[in-house]
Symmetry: C2
Subunit: 353 residues, 2 copies
DNA sequence: ACGCCGTCTGAAAGCGTTTTCAGGCCGTGC
DNA sequence: GCACGGCCTGAAAACGCTTTCAGACGGCGT
């Protein structure tokens, strides 16, 4: 009767689900202090005298108090939560980046809300709205292109945004990006340097995946640089981003011109498909045809032959994107565009002519 | 002056970050109704007369109102958020399950908070506490073993729990599981049925990954079933869960006994490592040695030779775990243990003797 | 004409925190 | 002995929403 609370009028309260949660006010009463003091113990311990602090902390531990973050968020206007939207979770390359993001954010005390856009900008926009409803303090978005309304919204709400895998020409935003074009240029350079002249380019669908389009562009430019041109016939685009589509594309390629000595692929999975088709034609990799990939999926080191490829540091990209978001949340201004390094991983699928 | 609000006393409010958010009472004032009515339009539209509803909705759209879910959660005691803890995000097999979870939950209006436990139970417990602070309505936990305190906590707070990849003997909880032991038994059966008698078992580290331990157990039991025993010499455990460790393990295996005609692996990556070592020994797969995997990583269909393996439906498992959590959130009681189906994927790495 | 009921609406009471504000207490310097 | 300042504490307001409660209104049956 000293406790005119609304809930838990039932006799056996405490053993019932959802009833046992005790609030900061309860803790205060048990410890014989005011709610304000409990709050201070929780948030600014040095403000309260040792003796009281001890008493409060004892109660806190005894009842295993769990703070209600909704109330905290309501008044402090901080949810300690950030939202992440990715095209897909299933791509292992991205997955390692997501893991890095989670790790970085968690270490800083932030929770991570994730959603998949499946490369649909409208969907991404809706998901962003929902995340804003949920009160995220910041957002990490993936890819170079997003709805403009999205940025208006986040800006007007004062929500920090960090872009990853985004090499768009942005000045007042924060972004980290792969150097996709340069990475593929390195792939081409590698082949040329090893004496290859008849080089085919195998690319995934470029339509809705800008990074892949960038890789293709980088490859073409480099071909032009070396040979004065890059014939359309030497480029083949797969129907889907999987090995079987890649195999079919290689079939078309070699149907037109059987004398290629090397294939540069804009993705490692495509490289696997290329190897399949070549094997079917009794062509050896790398003895007859060399293959170079891009991305460095872990598994490609375990295939036969182990794939020579250009390593793209997705984990690091995620870590950087998260770190930069944290900086903004700490008050720093958006920090512009940062590129990730890349490098060649020499395994055995490329041979010197 | 008609608006004695605490914030935004500055002249240029509206163009400033974090200032432009308008609340439900603002909307109410603009629409000339009470806050209660706006709330009703948002949550129970049929309760309000058409004309007013229209007016309110107009304002809502015009100012692109975004609800503050912290306030809503505070009073309604529902956050429309669920927490997911997985051992790791980097495992592609899990990733597809996570994607399914996200998809299912999002379709039902729930947000997804994720964390990685890295197979550390204490860490998982701490992460759970943080998620409870954040007010999750339910949790999806991965794996068969968790701290008991965790369940006390969720139970006392009335938070629904759905377990995935969990075949522990639980009665009053909800869980979905792979039939890991049976899947590996199928692998052994397949080999035996194809005429193999000299079979080695290659397993990943069983210490902190119960599913792998189950697979091993299933394999051993089946070997005993067929041959009266399963010699310890025929079983080799890898140091890590990767292809290189697997290669080394196969080296040990064939060092002891070069006459194996088949290797059953508790994971697809291990199978890849096995192929590597065999190739190094100039042994052909499957002509000299057959290999069967377990798990069905997408990529294993693109390697040489395409891997025969037992398909484990991780995507479906995630979808089921999410669905069952939703059921509980809708009021249904925990629904016990549900097993996923599995089946053989015949590709080419197993040959009939 | 009266009362009753059903439909719609607004006032107000919270939800569990954080933070401001003012005051109490004590020691210090005069 | 008194004023002053520093340290600690509690009362109370506020955050933005939902929901209960009661009242207003109009239509209906008697």
């Amino acid at each position: 009767m000293t406790k005119p609370r609304t809930r838990a009028p039932e006799p056996d309260a405490g053993s019932r689900p959802g009833i046992n949660d005790i609030s900061l006010v309860d803790v205060a009463r048990m410890a014989g202090v005011s709610p304000a003091t409990v709050s201070r113990v929780l948030n600014h311990p040095k403000l309260v005298r040792e003796s009281k602090r001890q008493a409060v902390e004892d109660v806190l531990a005894r009842v295993s108090y769990i703070r209600n973050n909704a109330a905290r968020a309501l008044i402090s206007r901080k949810s300690l939560t950030v939202g992440l939207i990715v095209p897909t979770l299933a791509n292992p390359l991205f997955a390692s980046g997501i893991e890095a993001i989670e790790q970085t954010l968690q270490a800083a005390g932030y929770g991570l809300l994730v959603a998949c856009s499946y490369r649909d900008l409208d969907r991404e926009f809706e998901q962003t709205k929902v995340m804003l409803e949920r009160g995220v303090d910041g957002m990490i978005l993936t890819g170079p292109v997003h709805k403009e309304e999205l940025f208006q919204l986040t800006h007007s709400r004062g929500v920090a945004v960090s872009l990853q895998d985004c090499n768009a020409d942005i000045l007042d935003r924060s972004a980290v990006a792969m150097r996709d074009a340069d990475a593929m240029a390195l792939a081409i350079d590698t082949l040329v340097q090893r004496g290859h002249r008849d080089i085919a380019i195998l690319t995934g669908p470029t339509g809705n995946t800008p990074p892949v389009a960038d890789r293709l562009r980088g490859a073409r430019e480099r071909m032009t640089h070396h040979f004065g041109q890059c014939a359309d016939d030497d480029v083949e685009e797969t129907a889907d981003y999987d090995a079987e589509s890649a195999r079919l594309a290689v079939k078309r390629l070699f149907g037109r011109k059987p004398s290629y000595t090397a294939i540069a692929c804009t993705g490692d999975i495509l490289a696997l498909g290329a190897v399949m088709e070549l094997r079917r034609r009794n062509l050896s990799v790398p003895d007859d045809v060399s293959i170079i990939g891009c991305g460095d999926q872990v598994m490609t080191q375990y295939v036969d032959p182990p794939l020579t490829t250009v390593h793209l540091p997705f984990r690091q990209m995620g870590e950087r994107a998260a770190r930069r978001l944290l900086d903004q949340l700490a008050g720093a201004p958006p920090s512009g565009l940062e590129y990730m390094d890349f490098h060649l991983i020499e395994r055995v699928s490329v041979r010197t002519l």
